[in-house]
Symmetry: C2
Subunit: 232 residues, 2 copies
DNA sequence: AGTCTCACTTGAACGCGTTCAAGAACTGCC
DNA sequence: GGCAGTTCTTGAACGCGTTCAAGTGAGACT
C-alpha cells in the first residue's frame, strides 16, 4: 500500500468534545505565551506544561510549532473583517475605504508586532503551509481578497472595466506589501507603516483613476497581460 | 565592566594563515553540501566531519549556520557583476541593459534554486543579519545597487531629473521583487521568472519614460515624497 | 632553550522541536 | 457488565544547532 490510508479525522480536527476542549486549551496557552515571551522563546515544552498536557499531545493537534501560527492567522483575519466593518458602511470614497481597510488590518496586528516579526520568516518560506500564497492559507487569503472586493464594490470609484476584475487581488497584494513593510518597521508604534498607508492609498486611488486615461491604456493592458502570463 | 572588551580579531576574520585555510575549507565544504543535500538537510556535524574539523571549530569562524549563507551571498554578488559585464558593455538601451542585469542575476542563482528557497526564510526575518536590508548585508546590497546605477548611467534613456537619483535603488527593489518571485517560482527551470523579467522590464522602461510627462508629474512627485517620508 | 601569549581547536553537554510505541479513556454494541 | 474500536494522551528518546571550559600549537621575546 503506497496509498495513504484515509484518516478518520484530519490532523488538528478533533472528533470529540474532549478533543475540542484540549485543542482550544493548547491554542489559548500558546497565543498567550507567544505574546508574553515571543515566538522563539516559547518552547513546545512550556506550552504543554502551562496547558497541563504532555508535549506529544500538542503534536496530536498541531503538526508542528508553525501550525500554531496558522491559528493566529485565522483569528487575525476574523478580527480584521470585524474592524473594517464600520468604515465600510460609513465611507463611499474608494481612497477612504481602502485606507480604512488597511488601517484596520494593521490595528489588529499591532499588539502582536514583536512576535509576528519573529515568525514572519516561517511564513516567508515558499514551501511552508504558512505562506500567504499556499493552498493551506487559501481560506484566510480569499477572505482577505473578498474584503478588498467589498471595499471596491461599495465605492463610487469608476474603474477601467478591464482592470476591475483583477483589482481586488492586486489591492490585496499591495496590502501584503504594507504588511511586509510593517514587519520590518522599527519606528515607534510603527508610525511609518501608517504613513505608508496614508501615502500609498491616494497614489493607488489616483492610478486606478488614471487607468481610464487613453495614454495609459497600453500600460494598463501591458500590466494585465503580464499578470495573466504569470498566473498559470 | 558592562562594556564589551575589544576583541583582537573580529569573529570570522582569521589572523593567521592556518586560520584562513581552515575557514576556506569549512566554507567550501558547506557550499558543496548545501548544493548536494539542501540547506536544512546539511547538518553542522556533517560539515565539520567532511571538512575534518570539530563542530566547535566551525563556530569559531561562523557565528551560526546562517552566517555560512552570507558567504553564499557574497559569492553570488561577485558572480552577478561578472555575468552582467558583457551586456553592460554591449547594450545602450535602458530596457536591454536592465533585462541583461536581471537575467544575469537569475542565471547566477539558478543552480542554487532548490536550496536557496529553503534558506530564504532565514533571510526574510527582519532581525536576521541575512536580511537584504540589514546592516550586515550592506556590502552586497550596495554593490547590487551600484550595478543598477551602472545600468542606468550607461544607457541613452532620458529620465525625470527628480527621479533619477532614486532610480538605482528603486530598480534594485524591483529586482528584489523578481528574486522574491523566483524563490516562489515552481515552473520548470523557473521560466516564469524569465517571463516576469521580459514582461516587467519594458513596463518599467515605459514608466520611466512617462515620468517626464506633464500629466504624470504629480504622481511622480507623490511617489518620491512617499519614499522620502519612509526613509528616516 | 625556555616561557609567554594568543590564535586556534576540541568534543561533551545543553535545550530545543519532533517522533512514536505504548497505554488510557471514551463510545457504541451485544 | 463485557467487549471492540476509536480517539486521545503519555513521556522517553532522537537528532539538531549551539555553547564553553579545557586544551594544543606556533611565533615572539628574553
Amino acid at each position: 500500500m503506497t496509498e495513504q490510508s484515509v484518516p478518520t479525522t484530519a490532523a488538528g480536527e478533533p472528533a470529540t468534545a474532549r478533543g475540542e476542549q484540549t485543542r482550544q486549551l493548547i491554542v489559548d496557552t500558546a497565543m498567550r505565551l507567544f505574546r508574553e515571551r515571543g515566538y522563539a522563546r516559547t518552547t513546545m515544552r512550556a506550552i504543554a506544561q502551562e496547558a497541563g498536557v504532555a508535549v506529544g499531545n500538542a503534536y496530536y493537534y498541531f503538526g508542528s510549532k508553525e501550525h500554531l501560527i496558522q491559528e493566529f492567522y485565522a483569528r487575525a483575519q476574523t478580527e480584521h473583517r470585524a474592524a473594517a466593518g464600520p468604515v465600510l458602511t460609513r465611507e463611499s470614497d474608494l481612497a477612504a475605504r481602502l485606507a480604512g481597510v488597511m488601517h484596520a488590518g494593521i490595528d489588529v496586528l499591532t499588539p502582536s508586532h514583536s512576535f509576528a516579526a519573529s515568525f514572519f520568516k516561517t511564513a516567508a518560506e515558499p514551501t511552508s503551509p504558512l505562506s500567504p500564497f499556499s493552498a493551506e492559507s487559501s481560506g484566510p487569503r480569499e477572505a482577505a481578497i473578498a474584503l478588498f472586493a467589498e471595499a471596491l464594490e461599495g465605492s463610487t470609484a469608476r474603474v477601467d472595466p478591464e482592470l476591475r476584475p483583477h483589482l481586488p487581488e492586486l489591492l490585496w497584494l499591495a496590502y501584503m506589501g504594507v504588511v511586509l513593510y510593517w514587519v520590518y518597521d522599527r519606528s515607534p508604534g510603527q508610525t511609518r507603516t501608517r504613513q505608508l498607508i496614508d501615502g500609498a492609498v491616494p497614489l493607488v486611488d489616483r492610478l486606478v483613476g488614471l487607468s481610464r486615461l487613453r495614454v495609459l491604456r497600453p500600460v494598463t493592458r501591458q500590466v494585465l497581460d503580464l499578470i495573466r502570463t504569470l498566473r498559470h
